[in-house]
Structures are given as structure tokens and as C-alpha cells.
Symmetry: C5
Subunit: 326 residues, 5 copies
Amino acid sequence: MIVDSALYRDGVRIPLSCDKADLHEVRAATTGPHDFVWVGMHEPSGDELEQVAAAFSLHPLAVEDALHAHQRPKLERYDDGIFLVLKTLWYVDEEDAVETGEINVFVGRDFVISVRHGEGTALDTTRLQLEAREGVLGHGPSAVVYAIVDHVVDTYEEVATQLEIDVDEVEASVFSPQRTQDSRRIYILKRELAEVRRAVNPLREPMKRFATGSVPAVSQEAAPFFRDVADHLVRVSESVETLDSLLSTAFDAHLARISVEQNEDMRKISAWVAIAAVGTLVAGIYGMNFVHMPELHWRFGYGYALALMIVASVVLYRMFKKSGWL
Amino acid sequence: MIVDSALYRDGVRIPLSCDKADLHEVRAATTGPHDFVWVGMHEPSGDELEQVAAAFSLHPLAVEDALHAHQRPKLERYDDGIFLVLKTLWYVDEEDAVETGEINVFVGRDFVISVRHGEGTALDTTRLQLEAREGVLGHGPSAVVYAIVDHVVDTYEEVATQLEIDVDEVEASVFSPQRTQDSRRIYILKRELAEVRRAVNPLREPMKRFATGSVPAVSQEAAPFFRDVADHLVRVSESVETLDSLLSTAFDAHLARISVEQNEDMRKISAWVAIAAVGTLVAGIYGMNFVHMPELHWRFGYGYALALMIVASVVLYRMFKKSGWL
Amino acid sequence: MIVDSALYRDGVRIPLSCDKADLHEVRAATTGPHDFVWVGMHEPSGDELEQVAAAFSLHPLAVEDALHAHQRPKLERYDDGIFLVLKTLWYVDEEDAVETGEINVFVGRDFVISVRHGEGTALDTTRLQLEAREGVLGHGPSAVVYAIVDHVVDTYEEVATQLEIDVDEVEASVFSPQRTQDSRRIYILKRELAEVRRAVNPLREPMKRFATGSVPAVSQEAAPFFRDVADHLVRVSESVETLDSLLSTAFDAHLARISVEQNEDMRKISAWVAIAAVGTLVAGIYGMNFVHMPELHWRFGYGYALALMIVASVVLYRMFKKSGWL
Amino acid sequence: MIVDSALYRDGVRIPLSCDKADLHEVRAATTGPHDFVWVGMHEPSGDELEQVAAAFSLHPLAVEDALHAHQRPKLERYDDGIFLVLKTLWYVDEEDAVETGEINVFVGRDFVISVRHGEGTALDTTRLQLEAREGVLGHGPSAVVYAIVDHVVDTYEEVATQLEIDVDEVEASVFSPQRTQDSRRIYILKRELAEVRRAVNPLREPMKRFATGSVPAVSQEAAPFFRDVADHLVRVSESVETLDSLLSTAFDAHLARISVEQNEDMRKISAWVAIAAVGTLVAGIYGMNFVHMPELHWRFGYGYALALMIVASVVLYRMFKKSGWL
Amino acid sequence: MIVDSALYRDGVRIPLSCDKADLHEVRAATTGPHDFVWVGMHEPSGDELEQVAAAFSLHPLAVEDALHAHQRPKLERYDDGIFLVLKTLWYVDEEDAVETGEINVFVGRDFVISVRHGEGTALDTTRLQLEAREGVLGHGPSAVVYAIVDHVVDTYEEVATQLEIDVDEVEASVFSPQRTQDSRRIYILKRELAEVRRAVNPLREPMKRFATGSVPAVSQEAAPFFRDVADHLVRVSESVETLDSLLSTAFDAHLARISVEQNEDMRKISAWVAIAAVGTLVAGIYGMNFVHMPELHWRFGYGYALALMIVASVVLYRMFKKSGWL
């Protein structure tokens, strides 16, 4: 689906005289040296993509990538243009899960085509914000690429922040006084972190190339801005590594805790067994059949025996309580 | 065994006037500047390979490698040709196992010789598909190398997908409510992943060389296509690493689970022991031989004692049930 | 807040004729070729920062970074100046915690602007010490950068020393004869170490660039001094890695200890159960109803039975004591 | 001990007119431009080595290394010659152990001196095979170096194969239905793998230098052959890493197994305890002294009680059997 | 303290006409082009070091480093001289501990100043040995640097050998039939290894620079000698890594062993409990109050009951013995 297509001249959106889906016409309208077209698509069909490819002479390999999605993040040069693949990430609160989508961007001298797959990281707001800043948009396609990348990396930071909260919760759970089953949660979080890592890390290299101004289609003066994005990306990446290693440690602590709990249970059980055993022993003693057992003939012998059991139990109970076994 | 040999001119298969096994004749038929021969062999004998080597002046070390198979994936330059070793992988459903074979490819200015070992990744379909695309095949030996490599890497992706399914199953098993023995399965999966890694990782370097167009026998314009293959290879490689580390975490979770189960068993056992102990204690008390024990003379003393045992047991049972021990 | 701003000429502070907050005036006062201004700010508002940026023509991206803080340590070149981000660390004794702040430094040919966030690592003493050493301050902005970086890295070393003490305490606790719960403490220390690592490691690269004299705004002759700082940084970094791996080993030892303790508890419990069981067995024997049981008719049969129980218990107790079970 | 010394001219062994131990004479016999001497020694004394060093002007540091052995594998250039240190490995079946020796090779324009330490990897067969291939030996000292290195790396592959078999055995043992103690075996295998790694890995760099033809004393045309050896070396090295990581996983599985066995034992024990407890409870009940207990007066009350015990035990036994506890 | 200072000319010690502590005079005595002074100090005071610094114009940063010690091993160039920091290691047998000291070496065209901190690795013998070898000492300051470095690295090898012995002991202890507590010992050894690593690893880079002859103050012809030292250093470093990873495996084996022991204890305990339970059950049976229990009236019923208990116990004991539980 073509979400929007527009012609920009000196940072200002020029009303189109043709249908926004008639891309040949749209492109033909780029008459000035700094004019450019930005076409935004969302999960286009093969046909739609074919038309775009024809109108802007896109490289067939890149078009195929954009159609099927599920690529690694990458930056490729084709003749006079570039092709950029970004993974989008968003956090679904209800499931504590990270979902992934994809944005493919084709950039040429006079056009930007963004192809979005999946729910997250819509670009309409990005376009609106950009259109509101004439000065920035006047830098041409570079500005659009920067705006998209900046927006995507911002969502990475949000996801990382969510995952930090999740890790904090796990941490609180592991060290809480309650008994908790955290291994499943830790496993799932580690899987989510692996997901983020797969989106973030392969993007570092392309961002570095943007940041050093070594990508031809991106203007040299945009370099500091991409450097800023690259910095954010590194921060997300380091944050993910730190979270992952914290989770490993938390898991070990969880294991240690299970052992400690087992020990406590065993001691508690043993204490009660001991208390019962003392009662049984006393009962056994007065169940012996000796002819000469004075207590058996006492008036309150039976009461005495019961009292003996209770006293012994209470004494034991207090001893165990004191030593921390109960 | 020589599976097939054919002469191609401008992307079209030229009928041979000689026997397809008479390789000297076949090669002699390459008269045009863009003619080339593609010989496909499957587990050839030493003699067969000798004949090919003689007809195309292959380097003896490469021929020896192709005969014995069991090489690491590699790309080597010999004078004016290259020698490429690829591992083939296929997944045997019945055994959840990954099997490995090998393809050796000799490439010269006017010939491609592919030598296949093992069952998997047959190349006849590859040849047919290629013959159907005249434009592609017209690029000469490079096109054949690309087609073979692309096919092999595609099978890697299939294997990786199968292993992802296996890991998902292990994950489901580890966290299922049933008690499961997963350590063996995890071990075997890790061994399979090591197998895949040994096929995939050493190939990354050669693919990069193809992708940057720095291999003389491969035409410059094929570079973007190899870049695509290299990308897929990296994706498989990263996928394998992620699976391996997920398996490690799953194994830890499995260990934690065993501990938790042990704890649960111990508590369950202890609860039952406690219930039995209470009955025994009551029986012991009324087995005492005191002269003055009023209950002993009650009409329904015996029934009362049994009732006491049962009531105590039920009360304990409920307490344990409530606290989660039973 | 502008903490202080001053004009230095040949290493000497020149009294200002204008208000120290009127930065345009302050800058205008730099008439000599080696004059420079050092403005120190603490958590400035956006407005304050805007004024500084206007007075010294700072790059908007750097200004934004300085306003929001929470950057990675980094060194960036903008046209004719540099922008340096440092994390500050301080150790809060009451909580055994490492807190982090940030210092941003803008350096130009004739000015240094330091923007500090968070409580730690105040720079007033640094300024005073520097003003006391005319010779050093005469080297211009480089001297100020060096003084700040040196001060920050010194605090890193203090923090590392504190953490070493903490690790020593954990180590003593893990191997103490008392039973201790160390996994939480180890977890938190590992988290603190991750915090330090995030401050220290990204700074190594910028320090190396200073140390090799490859940063334009920093004079060549300051290189050995920065080399010294870089050395300290590496030492802190290595110390952190060593502590982290020691903690991992300590954690494993802690786990081993829990297992050993469990074993000891189990043996102790079992020994007492055995002692009780022997008493019960003796009582059971003399509770049998055989017609012919000579002991039952003995004068001191009962006493003999009790003595038997006590002797058996003492013998068992001694055996267990000797074998180390009690 | 000087094992053999010979003069080769154009790949053919020339009978010596002097004693083979008179090395000055032997060397003096190299008159042609392609003549060279190969002296083979086995654990020479200091004196013997001194004589060789004098006859061939070897560098004193290299001579000292060759005398004491216990060096890391390395390749060093001295003026116009090279000095190569190789570790030899052999597998002692009786002890499942890997033993290590050493071969030092001095190479000059017109000589090769091989000094062997330890039992393994004798070089007489290597010499004989080489003398049988005139064409190869005609390439001069390079051919000898290649033959020695090729032979040594072949033995590495044999050792690696043996260790693979050992790992397979451990794997079978860990997952066998019998209870096994595998931790010691795994530990020893890991130590053997460390041994192999120490021989193999430092040799990779020298082999690469041979393979790229960047060692002056080795002829350029030998490069593809050394490339082949380098390939084998990498394969051994990767195989060792894979085995090592498989052993780690096997060890973890072994640990999991111990836990599972403990659990099984505990449940088995508990089941039997429960069966005994039921018998004791029944006996306790009929040991109570109530005046009115009808069963006590039954004709077959005693038999009935015994039957009750047996039935209860059998029922419990079946229940435990069914639930897998017994 | 100035331990010794001497003037060397062409490898021979020249008697000084002035006090050896009057360093200005000593230096002034270096008249020949190859004359040089070697001053040896041990834990000098600030004053002493100031005098040396003044006499030889040492760089203040290096002097400060030499005064405070506790530096990382490093090699620094200052104008026309170098400054080398080495850690010294020695093994204290009584405590199985590795102690560390430091040697700082200043080298100029005509002087060497060695500053030693801590007990170990005294240099007097090094000086004596060097003075005995005129030829070597004739190479000037390089020879002294080599002698010191060689001596220091030799002590590293001794320490590594000691630690290998310790690891062998731990290994023997872990796998000995006795029950042992090895986790503390393993922890401490790992800490010692970290200590050695911190001394050895940072020195590898400087040694490589010496070995490639890229340090100006060290003569080119000394390079092979430093290459030898560098080799030893790498060997120590690899040995430390191997020991560390062996210790990790040994620790895991120790953990496995604790689990196995726990299992054995549990089975042993359970066996004895079963034996006692059988006796109690028999006693319970004959304690029942049935009117018709023939055994109770037997002449030797009591003896028969005791015999039953004993026989049952012996049978059970044998069964447990056979199955390995006792």
C-alpha cells in the first residue's frame, strides 16, 4: 500500500497535480536540482513494488529484499543509490514481549522510498515533524534518511528501557522474601534481548559509515547527526549486553536460592520429625511390659507421661526456633 | 560418476557431437570467447578425477582434496583458476540429525567442474533452472558458481529453520508442566549446531571475497549477487549462535527445574511421613501400660482412638495441601 | 547555574570588569593570543546553556547532549573545537553503592566550558589547584582539560579501591566459618562493576587519542600527561575485570558451600534420627508381649532398659562425633 | 645422537666419502649450487650440538633452544636461515594419554638439520619416502621442511581422531542407562585437549607465513603445499575447540544426571520408608491397650493383622511402582 | 637507598674516583663514547630519587611513577630515553602465595637507572653475572636492560612452575578417594593466577617492540635476545591461561563430587534407617495385644523374636552392601 508520496522543493511540500500513486508522474515533477520525492509504503504487494522499481529504476536484488522482508539490517550501495534495511522493534506490554518489523529505504539523488513491514514504528509523524522543519528538509534525501533512522533508534531506546524495567522486576523477584519461579521469565527475557541484539548490532557498522560521511548519497554535513544516532545505537547495544550479563548473574542467584530453600525445608521437616520422634519414644517407654515400673502405678502416671511428651516437644521446638531451623 | 557435462555458448546449451564423458573432446569444442563447459560429477573414482584433471589441467593438490573430501570450506587460487570447497548440509527428519556432504568446484576461464560427495544438495535442478535463464547463464562460469553457492546456502537456511523448530520444542519441553529429561536432547542439538557452524563460518571469508569482487575468475558484475549470498550466510551464522546460547540458557533452566522438582518431592514425602508419624504417636500413647488411663476403659475408646488418628491425619493433610506441600 | 567564569592570561586569573555571568563580555575580554576563558556550570537550565552556546558558538548537537546528560563517554570534534563527555563516579558508603554523574567539556581555541551533572566530582578544587600552578595553566585550555580528566580518573581509582574492599569482604564472608547469604551482595557488586565499566571503557579510546597528540585542540606537549591518565584508566579497567571474574569464582565457591552445608545438615539430622530410633527399638522390644521374657520380671528390669537406651545413645553419639557427622 | 646425515644433489642421495658424523667434511662436499645436506639428530648431547653449530654456523640462541627443548612452536629468522620449532604429539593407547615431544629444524641455503626430542614422530620413514621421490627432493631444503611439517601435522590429525573417539565414549557413558562417574575422565580429556592446543595453535601463524611464501629460505613454489598443511592445522584446531565445548556440555549433562539420580534414589527410599511405616502403624494400633477392642479377641485376629499389613504394603508398592517411584 | 653505582667502559667496570652516591660526579666520568653508568636503587626516598633525576635529567612523570610504584608494566619513550616498568613476582612457599614488587628502569644513551620496590628479584647477582661477561656488557645499556628483563621473566617462569605444582595438588585432591574441601584453595589459586596475569600480559607488547628492534635506545643486534624473552613471556602467559581453565574444570568436578557424596551419604543413611525400621516393625508386631498369638506362648518366643530381628537386619545389611548403598 502506498501510504503517502510527496514532492519536496527547498524543504517545502509542493502540491502534486497528479495522483500520488502515479509515481512516474510524481517523479517527472522533480524539475529543480534539489527537488526530491518521498514515497512511503506499508507492506506493498509485489505489483506495487514493481511499479515503484520501474519508476525509480531500483536494483532487482534490493526490490526482492524489500518484498520478502526478514533481512539483516544492512546498508548497500547500488550504482548511484543506496539501500538500507532497518529492523523495527516495539514492546507489547500485555505479553512483556518484543515484536519486530522492518523498514527498507531506497535512496537516490532525487528520491527516498521507505517500505515498512509490521505494525511498529509508523512514519507518518516522522514525515509531519520533518515537513514542519523546512530548514532540515531542505537538505534533501539525507534529511529523510536521518529522520527515519533517528526515529527507529529512538524506539530501540524505548524498548531497551522497557527491558531494563523487566530486568529490575526479575531482580526484585529473585531477591524477594517470597519463593518465586524465575527461570522461565529469565529465559524469555534473554530471548528478547537476543532479538534486540539482532536488530541493533548489525546496524552499528552502517551508522559508522554514515557518521564518517563515507556514504555517497548522504551529504557530508549530515555526518554529525548520524554520529549522534550511532552513539545512541552503541548505548543501546551496551545496555543490552549489560542486561544480558546481569540476567545470567540473577539466574545463578536464583539457583543458589533454590538450594538454600531446599536446605531450609529439609531442616524444618527434620525438626518436626524429631519432635514427633520424642513423643513416640516416651510412648514406647511406657508401653514396655516390665513388672516393676513404678510410674505405671502412679495415680497421675498417664497425665505425667502426656505432660512429659508435651514438655519435651516444647523444649525441642524452642531449641529449633532458636537455632533457626524452624 | 560423471552426472552431466555440457557446453554453453551465450547462455545456451550447445548439443555435443561427442560423448559427454570424453572430456578432452568436450573442452576442445569451446571455440568462442565466451564458451564454457560445466562438468558435474558425483563421488568420482580416482581414475575419473584423473581424466578430468588431465583434460582441464587442474592442480594436483586440489584434485587430491576433491577425491578425499572431508576438507574445510575454503577458496583457493591456483594460477588462473580457483578451487572452492563447500560443505552441504541436510536435515534427516526421522533422526532429528544434520548430515553433511561436500561439493568441490573447480573454476577456470572456460570451465566449471563440480564434484559432489554425499547424498544432499543435488545440483541437477540447479542446472535446469540455470539453463532456463539464458541471460544469467550468459555471464559464464561466474553464474554457475553463484547458482551452486546460492543453492547450498539456501539449504543451510532450511537446516537452520529446522533447528529453530527443534530448539522451540526443547524450550516447550523444559517449561512444560510435565517432568522431562531434556539434557540429552540439548546435548545433541548443540552437537548439530557445532556441525552447522563448521560448514558455515569458514565460508564467510570466501563469500566476502566474492562479494567484493576480489576473486579474478568471478566477474565484477556478479558481486552484488554474492553480497546477497554472503548476507544470508551471516544470517545463518548469527542464527546458529543465538540458538546455541538459547540452548545453554534452556539447559540452566532445566537444571533449576530438576532442583525445584527435588524440593517438591521432598516436601511431598515429608508431608506423608508426618501424617503417618501422627498415627503412630497416637497408637503409641494408647499402647502405654499405665494402670490409670480412663480412655482405655471407655466403651468406644478404641473407636475414639481410631477417630483421633483419622482426624489428625485429615487436619494435617489439609494443612499441607494449603501450604502447597501436597 | 554558572558556578564560576574567569579569564586567564599566561596562567594568571585576570579580574573581570564585567559580571561573570555576562559571557559575551567575558569572551570579548580575551584580547591576547594566549588568553582563554573557563566557564564552570552545574546542571544548567536550557536558557543558561543557550546563552553560553550563543556566546561561544557551540554546536547545537553538543549543546543538546550537555543539556540532557546521560551520554556515553565520548570525544567529538566540531569544526575548530572538541566536545568531551565524561562520566563521574562516587561511592556512597552508607549504601555500598556507586553513583554516577556526568561532566561535559566544550573546548575551543580560547575557551573551556565545563558542565557538570550530579553530585560527585566537584571542580572548584581543581580550579583552585590549577590557579596555584601558573606554569601549568599557561599551557591554555589543554591544561584545564587535563586537570579535569585527571581529577575524574582519580575518582575512578578511588571507587575501584572501594570496590576492591567490598570484594575482599565478600570473599571473607564466603569463606568464613559462619553460614552466610552472599549471593545478593555478589549480584549487587557485579552490577556496580558494570556501572564502572560503562564509565571507564568508552573513555579509553579518547584518552589514547589525547595521549598520541592526535586531537587538534590539545597541545602536543600535553601528550605524556594524558598518556599517564590513559595508563591509570587501563589500570582501573583491568582491576574491574579482575574483580568481576573473582566475584564469579566467589559465587561458585558460595554455591559449593551451600551444597556442603546441606550435606552436613543432612548427616547431623540423620545422626539424631538414628539415636532416637535406637531408643524406640529398645522400647519396642520390651513392649513385646511374650510370656517368657526374663528381663520383664527382673527387679531393676525397667532401670536396666532405660540404661540400655542411654548407653546405646551415648555410644552412637560418640561414633557420630568421631566420624564428623555431629 | 646423529641418526643420519646425507648429501643430496638434484634430489638424489650422493654416497659420502667421509664419515657421516664428520659434519665439516659433509658440508664441504656440497659443491653444486643445489646440493644440500640433511642431518637428523635425536636428543643430541650439548657437545654433539656444538659440533653441528660450528659446522653450519648456527645462531647460539637457536642452538640453546634446540638443546633444552620445551619451547613453544615458533618460526624464527636468523640472518640467512630459519629455525623452526614443532611439538610432536602421540597417543598412548594404554593410558588414553597424549604425550608430547619436540622437533627443531635449522634450515640454511644448503642444509637442513632436524633435532628430535621424545619418542614420537620418528623421521626415518619421512627421509626414505622423500628419497624415493627424486622430483620433490630436487626442490632442496624446502622439500625437507615440507615433508617434516606434513608428517607432524598428520600425527596431529591422528591424535585428534583418537580424542574424538574418547569424547564419543564419554558421551556414550554420560547418556548410558548405567550410573557412571565421568567427571574425572572429562577433566583428563580437557587437559589432553589443552596439550594439543598448545602444540597446534602457535604453529598456525608460521604455517601461514610459509603458505604465503613470505619465508625467504622456502621456495615460492612450495607455497600451495604449505597452504594445504595450514588447512589441516586449522581443521585440527577447530576440531579441538569443538571437542572441548562438547565436553563442557557433556559435563553439564553429567551434573544434571547426578541430580536426577539423587532424586530417584530419594523417591525410592521414601517409598520403602512409607511401606515400613504402614506396617508399624498397624502394629501400633493393635498394640493399644483398650479394654474393648473386638479384633483382639477374634480367633484369627493375629492373622488378620498380619494380612492387613501385607495387603497395605502390596497396595502401596503397586502405587509407587505405577507412579514411577519404585 | 642507592645499592650500587658503577661506570662501565667497553664492558669493564672502571673504579670510580668519587663517592658512588655522588651521581653528578659519576655521570661526569663518562667520557668515552661507549661509557655508561648503571645506578641500582632499592625503595629510594623522594630525595634520593630527586638527586638521580637531577643528575640524569629524568622526566618528572616517570620519576613520580618510580617513586610511588604500583604501576602497570609499560614501556614509555621520553625524548631521548625510555622508561620501563616491570612487575616482579615471587612465590612464598609457607603461604602458597604469589607476592609482587616492581622494578623501574630509566635508560638513556649513557646510563641505566634501576629502581627496585619490594623484596623479590634482587639485581646484585644480575650485575655480577653481567660484569663477568665483558663481551655482553660491551653492548652498553641495552645489555643491562636485557639482563634485567631476562632475570625478571625467569622468575615468572619459576612462579608459573610453582603454580603448576599447586594446580596438580588441587587436581589430586579433587579426585582423591578422601573427601576434600577444595573450593577455597581453587579460589585462591585463581586469584594468584590473576596476579601473575597482571604482571605478564601488559609486558608482552613492550617485549614485542624490543624484539622487533623498534625501541631507539636498544641496539638492533639485541633484538633476537629480546625475541627469546618475548617467547618465554608468551609461554608463561599461555601456561597461566591453561592453568586457569583447568582450575575451572577442576572446580566443576569438585561440585559434581559434592553432589555424588551427598547422594552416597543419603543412601547410607537410608540403609541404616531401613535396618532399624525392620527391627521396630518386628517389635511392634509382637507388641500387639491379640489374645490368640501362638508365638507369645512359645518357650523361646522371645529369643525367636530377637533372632528374627537380627536375621532380618543382617539380610538387609548384606543386600545394601551388595547394591553398593553401604
